[in-house]
């Protein structure tokens, strides 16, 4: 059975309560097609933040 090398890090008490990606997640982080979709998705999220910032701007009389 193949093991994920990084999982050996769980033996270290400082790393015990963390999470480490499995093979599928690891592959998806570098899958060009999926990551392109994520980039577009993040682009929309970012536009949402920019528009929200604009909406929150107010003119305040001195």
């Amino acid at each position: 059975m193949s093991i994920i090398k990084e999982e050996l890090n769980f033996a270290d008490p400082q790393f015990e309560t963390t999470m480490i990606p499995g093979k599928f997640q690891r592959a998806m982080r570098h899958c060009i097609l999926w990551q392109f979709i994520r980039m577009v998705f993040f682009g929309f999220r970012s536009i949402g933040i920019i528009l929200l910032n604009r909406r929150n701007e107010r003119d305040i009389p001195v």
Partner: protein
């Protein structure tokens, strides 16, 4: 003709000056006073620091850009502000000392109608013995805060990698060099990039990489941490930060105030008062930030620096600076229009304005040492505030003294950040995240202080592509190429 003087040609000052000139045209004068001859896209210094970009890729000369825009550029540093003028000057003025344009060392007095302080931080290496003197970095550690620092860091890192290639075990330490540092995000990116490069070079087993910081937990980032929506979950930045380090075998030491740096080792104090030492072969420690040390004088020539600035050197604006405990901190303590309460024609933008208090919980060791991350003012808020201040000044000039002023509170502002975890079109990674609002607002969002629908993060190679695109987009914008005003801050 009204004259606006902008002190500082970084993210906030450059944004403010260029928008002001565009909106005011030739009818009014915009002067930029800044000691640097080049503009630096600071976020990419990380990549210079690991040898993946050269210095020229993150810098461009300011003079031709300001000439094209019609902005009067004085390559000089501001020394003092005289907001009431003096015997010789009816109008308020600043004193400047040239650092270039063949006038090095010459001083000048520059009158203004409106003044923007966008002088950013003084890199206060001198606050920690051994880290440096004043704003000069010492010889025991490296930094990535400027392009030159990053280039030096990259050369030192290559030496370490070469030793590791020869089989010598090396210890790398990255983090913050004082209990009151901010900008942990930059150090976080740098440590992940070093780890990425070490793995690529096949020497990861020869380098021990460790994080040291003043944060109470990983992922605090001076923002009191955050809870991020991610792929259907809401998780703490602590879990994300620790997991990224665990995956990469990077250990961490937190709650630490570095109290002295020597050749190859540093000593620190932790929040419980305990003391310790860490040895290193290579250390990149972010210095604490302070204001750049501008002085202020009244009409009679009496010093009034404390009227304009807090003791940390950052400029007082329309924030609530009254001392109160963490439990009473409110989003409304944060400034909205960034004008100085005593002199309405002076504004501060970017890192130069004095925050009312940290965002993270203030903590002291039993010995009284402050170990609290200070609030970050990253590129997006710095640019947004710069533009809002420009808007206010334009309104004051064109509409008269009633303005109105434009708001840009960090408690009503979101930010987009991309933290690089390594370069490469296919092998690179970065954490892309959005945060809303930057300053926690527990009245609106009683759970985490932020909107978890809009505070979001994920890691992948797409983050690297975004960071790389942003590098080019923001340099394009700063160079005022066609359509630059359409690119958000």
């Amino acid at each position: 003709m009204t004259r606006v003087v902008v002190m500082g040609g970084g993210v906030a000052g450059h944004t403010a000056a260029t928008f002001l000139k565009k909106w005011l045209g030739d009818a009014h004068e915009v002067i930029v006073v800044t000691p640097n001859s080049h503009w630096n896209w600071i976020p990419s210094n990380i990549w210079v620091g690991v040898g993946r970009m050269n210095k020229e890729q993150v810098l461009f000369p300011l003079a031709p850009i300001y000439a094209k825009a019609g902005i009067d550029y004085r390559q000089s540093k501001a020394l003092s502000i005289h907001p009431e003028g003096d015997e010789q000057h009816e109008k308020p003025f600043i004193t400047i000392e040239y650092t270039g344009q063949n006038k090095e060392g010459q001083s000048e007095e520059l009158e203004y109608d409106y003044l923007i302080n966008a002088t950013g931080p003084k890199l206060n290496f001198g606050a920690t013995p051994g880290l440096g003197k004043g704003s000069q970095i010492g010889e025991h550690t490296v930094s990535v805060c400027t392009a030159d620092h990053a280039l030096h860091a990259s050369r030192e890192l290559q030496e370490i990698f070469n030793k590791a290639r020869r089989g010598e075990k090396q210890k790398i330490l990255v983090g913050t060099g004082h209990g009151t540092c901010t900008c942990q995000g930059a150090a976080f990116e740098y440590i992940l990039n070093i780890e990425h490069e070490a793995r690529k070079a096949g020497i990861r087993d020869k380098v021990d990489i460790k994080w040291i910081s003043n944060e109470p937990y990983l992922g605090d980032f001076g923002m009191d941490g955050m809870h991020l929506g991610s792929m259907g979950y809401v998780m703490s930045a602590k879990l994300l930060g620790e997991s990224l380090f665990a995956e990469r075998g990077i250990h961490w030491l937190l709650d630490a105030h570095v109290n002295e740096v020597q050749e190859g080792k540093l000593s620190y104090e932790q929040i419980d008062g305990s003391e310790g030492e860490e040895a290193f072969d290579f250390a990149m420690l972010i210095p604490p930030f302070s204001g750049v040390g501008l002085k202020a004088y009244d009409k009679a020539g009496e010093e009034i620096t404390d009227k304009l600035f807090l003791p940390n050197g950052f400029m007082k604006v329309d924030a609530d600076y009254s001392a109160k405990p963490y439990a009473e901190w409110k989003a409304s303590d944060w400034p909205v229009t960034y004008h100085n309460p005593d002199y309405g024609n002076i504004f501060a933008a970017g890192i130069a304005f004095a925050p009312p208090h940290p965002i993270s919980k203030p903590r002291k060791s039993p010995n009284g040492t402050m170990i609290t991350p200070m609030p970050p003012r990253t590129g997006m808020p710095s640019g947004t505030i710069g533009k809002a201040v420009a808007h206010s000044i334009k309104n004051l000039i064109l509409n008269g003294e009633h303005g109105p002023l434009r708001s840009a509170s960090m408690a009503e502002m979101g930010a987009i950040c991309v933290a690089s975890a390594g370069t490469g079109f296919k092998a690179g990674q970065a954490i892309s995240f959005t945060v809303y609002p930057i300053v926690k607002d527990f009245e609106k969002y009683p759970g985490t202080g932020r909107d978890t629908g809009r505070t979001y993060g994920e890691i992948g190679v797409s983050g690297h592509w975004i960071k790389y695109l942003l590098h080019h987009i923001f340099i394009y914008k700063a160079k005022l190429h066609p359509g630059w005003t359409l690119i958000p801050e």
